[in-house]
Symmetry: C2
Subunit: 120 residues, 2 copies
DNA sequence: GCCATATTCAACCGAAAGGTTGACGATATG
DNA sequence: CATATCGTCAACCTTTCGGTTGAATATGGC
């Protein structure tokens, strides 16, 4: 089980992951990191915005668990962490394939969603 | 022009879809609509917020293509539209398969060294 | 026609998102 | 030591988000 599940509900984590994915700059960053790990400055280079803005985006991606950042000297390397994306992907597939046979995972998902919803 | 900049039409749509999914109320609504089509008032019933707020949420889900709304008399029925979710899921799976690409660690190491090299 | 019901619209509000700039701490280099 | 580079922080600004309330616009039932 993923580390974030200990301190947050799945719901909170999905909030953060989907919000992180909702920005085109951040998705472009993920696409860049798909090819290779990169330093913060190199990530920022192709974008027409300040380094501080990119640094914020990277913080958001890190908090969402979508990337990890590791410091080596004064350079901070950014690495893609596909696990969080896989989790959200699984969530979405439970909708896209709800006609299919795999109702087990979906059943558990639905239970969780309904319990977490502001009910009665 | 970078390779990741190719998908421009889809990019805007992904903005809207992921932003729509980033709210727990809206995800709960999607979960409810999995079971059955519902009228707006019935969708709003379990939530502790105004009907107008739910109406806004449904508008956002509709603009994202995640649901459709059809008016019958004075009742507006909401139906899940899993296609948009499937699209976003496909986008995410391309990242989930990151490991399948099996990038060579040595190659990454080499590129890192070259980028760090003070020569030129 | 009259009234209740279903849904949206418009105006407003506080908080959060996404950007800027300038200063700053830390690290490498000469 | 001096200086350039890497990255973040703090303060600020504007726009968007998520919610409220009250009025408005159908539509259905009697």
């Amino acid at each position: 089980m993923a580390a974030w599940a200990h301190s947050h509900g799945m719901d909170d984590h999905l909030d953060i992951v989907f919000a992180a994915l909702a920005d085109p700059t951040r998705r472009a960053i993920l696409a860049m990191l798909l090819e290779d790990d990169m330093a913060v400055t190199d990530v920022a280079e192709p974008f027409e915005m300040s380094l501080a803005a990119i640094s914020k985006h990277l913080g958001i991606l890190t908090r969402a668990g979508l990337i990890s950042q590791e410091r080596h000297g004064r350079v901070k390397w950014c690495r893609l962490e596909p696990d969080a994306l896989r989790d959200a992907s699984v969530w979405m597939q439970s909708f896209g394939q709800f006609e299919a046979v795999n109702l087990d995972a979906f059943e558990k998902f639905l239970e969780r969603e309904l319990r977490d919803a502001p009910a009665d």
